[in-house]
Structures are given as C-alpha cells and as structure tokens.
C-alpha cells in the first residue's frame, strides 16, 4: 500500500499527539495509534514496517513469551521496536510503528516484536505480515469476546499471511492445525510422568479428527485438549515436533530441548508447566532467527516472573504464593487450581477472580465458572478456601457444585476483612489467586496475610 497525502497528515497528527501527551505527562502508548487507525483505517498497511517481524499470539502466555524474547534480544545487542507498553490490538501496533517511524514514515529499526491479540487477526494481518508468528495455545477465553476456539482458529487461518512462518505448539491440536498451507515448525513437550490417559478437565475442545470426524485417540492428555493424539480411522495425528523437551529435571531445575538430533540443556525458573511451554516457545523462535543456546540460556536463567503474575515469599515458616488467574478465562484459572492442588503441604487458598470493572458497572456473566475446574480445589491438602467479591454467592454455589465441603469455604462480599477468617493452623502455604485487574487487591491481601502470620 502506498503512502498518500492523507497518510502523512495522519502520521504527523499522531506524532504530534504523542509529543503533546508526553509533555503533559500522560500515557502515549494508546491514543496516537487509535487516532491513526480511526482517521485512516488502512494506516497499518500504509506505514513502513521493520524488515523482520516476530509476532506472538495465542490465548495464554503471549505477554510472558514476548517479554522473554525481548530480554534475550536486548541482552544480545539486537535493536527492535515492540508494543509491550501498549495494547496488542491494531491501534497498539500502530502506536508502536508511529513511534518507530521517521518523519518520512520510514522505520528506524529493522526488527519488531509484536504481541498480537488473536481476536484482532482480521484487523492486523491484512496489513502486517509477521516473518515469524508464534502461537502458544488456543483455549476458551472470554466468551463474550472470543466465543469459542473454532471461531478464533478460523479467523487466524483465514487471515494469517501465506508468507508467515509459523512456530506452533504441536501439543495443542487446535494450534497445530492453523493455516495448514503455511511453512511451520512445532514445539512440544514429550510425555511427562504427570500426564494421564484420561482428560480430567471439564473442557476439551477437540475430541474428533479434524480431517474425517472420527473419534480421536489421545496417546496422553496433559490438560484440556493439550496432549498427543491420533485418529483411529485416517492418518491424522499430532505433528512431528521440531523443538521438543525430552526431559525435565525438577530437582536440578533443568530441561533438555532436542532440535535436529541435537539436545541442549536449559535452566528452568519455575516448575509450572505453563512456564516451561512459554520458555520453549521463546527458545524455538529465537533459534529460528539464529540465536544459540549460549545466547539464550543465560538470559532465561535470570528471568524473574513479574510479581503481578506470580510471586513466592516465605514469612516465618509459611509460604505466600500469589498467582495470576485471569478471570473469564476458564483454562487459566483451571491451571492455577491444578497448580495449587499439586503443590506439597497443607494449603489455604484465596480465590479472588471477579472482574472488578464488571463488579462496578454491571453484573458479571458467570457462565465461565462452569467451564473452570473448581473440582481441583476439592482436595484433601486444601484445608480452607476463602472467596470474596461481587460474585461471592455464585462462587460459593459453584464450589458446592464441585462437592467442596461447606465447612472448608469462607465466603463474603467484603474482600479486605476476609484475611481475618484465615485459619493458619497446620498451614504450610497460602495461595492468593487473583484476576488481572485485581493487582492492588492482591497486594493488600498479601500484606494482611503477612501481618497475620507475624502475629501468630
């Protein structure tokens, strides 16, 4: 697409708005791009793009994977633009490209790392062709926005440019079937001891063969539709993995990644399988663009998961663990519940998953609670579950539907006084599971829990 006069006017307006916002000390990561795509709907098509674009999409893990890719590139001297401060929809990409462009509309850097919202595919890929596109996974997400995985995988397949090389999670059969004509490599984790033959989750979005509709036989199930499977009637099966974790040593915190018959070891920073997938996605794309194990591992090894997502702290002899559990995202919450139940020791769990915007302005659609495996919280080692927020009555009913004994559940509207009900007797770990918009609440609850432990 050519740059016309309208494009230049919009580019200058957007650049001016950026300068003005910066002068008055306001966030300039959203408005300039929003202005540009509103005034010039094909702005993304007209502005120059860096020569190489790494895109990261998928339901869960996009931000973490982008952060890891960016840290590795930075440490190794690469210069690039990215949208990590802005949004991951078309206007966010536009803001980043406006910032990166000269007054002639030329990009000053040759490389970009873009987190790309999967639902925004229709507004992005007609104009932006990622050189590499990572897809971490595709799960049920906010049903109001993303509906179901078939909808999301269709819009991805129909919009991803043919020239884009895909870096796909080969253990996710919905992801591995994306844009079948495109060049691709797969990453995956070989069977683990914790994998099972039967799906324990409520939700499994792929049970029949995408080619012939016959029943799929799962070789193993990791969670939901993640695992490996083959069709009983045709030749369809999970793909051959190019970057495969062949072994994980949780004691030494190491994993081995095999690529083209060569096995390399990497340090893992946490024992959560989700993080191992995120690291593996990062390693796969960085190897594709030519980085070596020795350029990647030292950076990943020193990664700190941002404490808005995960934190662990010991106060006296009790561990306080906070874990982001995105509300309205049933798989993310189920993973968090599974993580809690599998951790050693006796546990108390705060469940604070309400959407605070909805609580203030509406009445949250709680259908997603019933796609979420609350049943995992019904575990002998979980001694107390404390929940509060606008939907406390609904959450209490949902927990009863999961057969969690009533006497283990504390439920009330007020969040802050919940900590007073925490029973620390015999407890080794206190988990605080919280929504993305509840970071302040999480911090306050955490502080109160610390005080409670110190008082005991």
């Amino acid at each position: 697409m050519k740059k016309n006069l309208k494009f230049y006017i919009v580019l200058y307006l957007a650049k001016l708005s950026r300068i003005a916002l910066k002068i008055i000390g306001r966030d300039a990561t959203y408005f300039p791009g929003k202005l540009a795509v509103t005034l010039c709907p094909d702005f993304l098509g007209r502005i120059d793009k860096p020569k190489t674009i790494i895109g990261v999409t998928g339901t869960n893990g996009k931000t973490t994977v982008c952060n890891m890719i960016e840290d590795c590139l930075k440490e190794n001297g690469y210069e690039f633009i990215d949208n990590h401060l802005g949004s991951n929809i078309n206007s966010g990409l536009a803001s980043t490209l406006i910032e990166g462009a000269s007054l002639l509309g030329k990009q000053k850097k040759d490389l970009a790392v873009f987190e790309i919202d999967e639902r925004s595919a229709v507004k992005i890929y007609p104009y932006v062709t990622p050189t590499y596109l990572v897809c971490t996974n595709l799960f049920r997400d906010s049903l109001k926005r993303n509906a179901h995985t078939e909808f999301i995988s269709n819009i991805l397949t129909n919009n991803i440019p043919k020239e884009t090389k895909l870096i796909l999670n080969g253990d996710d059969l919905i992801v591995s079937g994306l844009a079948p004509e495109n060049e691709r490599v797969y990453f995956g984790i070989d069977r683990l001891e914790t994998d099972t033959d039967k799906c324990e989750n409520i939700v499994r979005d792929i049970t029949v063969c995408p080619k012939c509709d016959s029943k799929l036989e799962y070789d193993f199930v990791r969670y939901n539709h993640v695992g490996r499977a083959h069709c009983l009637s045709c030749d369809f099966a999970s793909p051959k993995i190019n970057y495969e974790v062949t072994n994980i040593d949780f004691e030494k915190m190491k994993m081995w990644v095999k690529n083209e018959e060569k096995e390399e070891d990497y340090d893992i920073i946490n024992n959560n399988i989700i993080n191992i997938y995120n690291m593996l996605a990062t390693i796969s794309v960085l190897k594709e663009i030519g980085l070596t194990r020795n350029q990647i591992n030292p950076v990943l090894k020193n990664q700190k998961i941002v404490d808005t997502r995960y934190s662990k702290e010991k106060v006296k002899n009790i561990e306080i663990i906070t874990q982001l559990s995105k509300g309205m995202n049933p798989i993310a919450c189920s993973r968090a519940f599974d993580y809690v139940r599998k951790e050693e020791g006796n546990k108390a769990v705060f469940v604070l998953l309400d959407d605070l915007h909805e609580a203030a302005n509406s009445s949250e659609n709680i259908a997603w609670h019933y796609d979420t495996d609350y049943e995992f919280l019904n575990s002998e080692s979980i001694k107390q579950i404390l929940t509060a927020g606008a939907r406390y009555l609904d959450t209490y009913v949902r927990m009863q539907m999961a057969d969690i004994p009533k006497e283990k559940i504390v439920y009330q509207r007020d969040e802050m006084s919940l900590v007073e009900k925490l029973n620390l007797e015999g407890i080794d770990k206190v988990f605080i599971l919280h929504d993305l918009y509840s970071i302040d609440l999480k911090n306050q609850i955490k502080k109160k829990v610390e005080e409670r432990i110190l008082e005991e």
Binding site: K144, V208, P330, W368, L393, V397
Partner: protein, 233 residues
C-alpha cells in the same frame, strides 16, 4: 420417581458451561438415569420414552452437523413435543428447531422447521447482554452471548416476555420458544442454577411431585442478588 434424562451430544454441545445445567439436575434428582448420547449414536428418544431431553450451545460447524443429524428424527421430536416430554434447549441449539439458518453470504442451512422462525449469522458482530424476563409467574435472569439473531413471530409460543434485554432479536419483546413442555432459549450458561424457581418448574413438568432443588437456600440468595443487580442496571 426414577426419571430418564437424555443429554444430546455433550462432547460438542457444551459451550459456555451449559452442561452444568444437567450436573445441577443430577444434584437435584440424583437417583435418575442420565444418558449421554454421543454424536455418532442414535438418540435414545428415537425408540424410548425419556423424561427430559437437553441440548446446549455448540460451534457453527457442529450446529450444521447436528441439524443434519436431527432432521431424520423430526417426526419423532414433534411427536414427543405433543406427548408433553420436557425439552430444554439452550443457546444456538434453539436455531436448529427453526426453519433455516442464514450465513452472511446469503447461503442457508435448512433446519428442522418445527417453529416458524429463522436465524441470521453475523460472525463479526457478537451480541452480549443481560436478561430479565417473565416466565409464568416468575422472573427469569440470565445472559446472552451470540453471533446470531432470530426472526419471525413467536408471540404465541415464546419462552419469556422480556423485561430487560432482548428477545429473539433486538427488536423483539419475546425470548425463546415454548410449545407444551418444549423450552428453547438463547440464554446461556448455568440457567437452572441461576433460576431456582424455574428449575423447580422444570422438575414439576417432569412429573416430580414436590421437587427439592439442590443447595436451595444458597442458589436462592444468589438469584435474589442477581435479580436486584440486573434491575438496577
């Protein structure tokens, strides 16, 4: 009071937590017989009498396959409706019982034609809303989240009269479909858990005398709270 409940194609018709409706029925009448019929099987209702037939929302691709499959049994379904068998059909499963479903490009998927309505898809415009509606003497609460809207006259056979939110489409004041004990609604999610009095009515329709609903006190409190919130909005 051993009742038989048939859940149609739960491996596919399971979006938005709707299967929880049947899990709740199971908590209410645990001694009943629950049959989960998978897509490649012949439904039990074809040759046997059942007390409740349930089908929940599904993807668009599956909706077309399920429509094709159920066409064979249209006559039997009509017979069961006449015999007052209870049907609970949620989300876009409703559309299968209308005349046709129209795609954006104008192509049509012929449906069962039991009700005089038709549906139109718009995959780039998802409708979300909250709902309050009057069903007999009670108020129903719930949520809608859908790509489709339905059109046609359901004034004589609607499920609930709209008090807040939309009916079959944004201009309609009548939500869902009802004929005898056949109930279809665009409401999604755990509607039976959200609406304890309605659940009681469904159980009564299944000829359960003095039905007792599970976690009665707690579900009623949650219902009252939601009703109050939705009225305030």
């Amino acid at each position: 009071m051993n009742k038989t409940i048939e859940i149609l194609f739960p491996e596919f018709c399971n979006l938005y937590g709707d299967i929880s409706n049947m899990k709740y029925i199971q908590k209410c009448i645990p001694e009943s017989n629950f049959i989960e019929t998978s897509f490649n099987e012949e439904p039990t209702f074809v040759k046997n009498d059942v007390d409740l037939i349930y089908m929940g929302p599904m993807t668009e691709k599956m909706q077309e396959k399920v429509t094709e499959k159920l066409k064979k049994y249209k006559q039997r379904i009509e017979e069961l409706i006449e015999k007052n068998v209870v049907f609970l059909i949620t989300g876009n499963a409703l559309e299968i019982f209308g005349k046709y479903i129209e795609n954006e490009d104008g192509t049509k998927i012929e449906a069962l034609g039991i009700f005089d309505i038709y549906s139109k898809r718009n995959m780039m415009k998802r409708h979300n809303s909250n709902f309050i509606g009057k069903y007999e003497d009670i108020e129903i609460v719930g949520f809608k989240s859908q790509f489709t809207q339905s059109y046609g006259n359901n004034e004589q056979n609607y499920f609930a009269k709209v008090e807040k939110g939309i009916g079959l489409n944004p201009e309609s004041s009548f939500e869902g479909l009802q004929k005898n004990n056949f109930i279809a609604t665009y409401l999604i999610g755990p509607i039976l858990i959200l609406n304890p009095e309605f659940t009681q009515k469904v159980l009564k329709k299944m000829e359960i005398q003095k039905p007792k609903i599970a976690f009665e006190e707690d579900v009623k409190k949650a219902y009252e709270q939601r009703l109050k919130e939705l009225k305030r909005l």
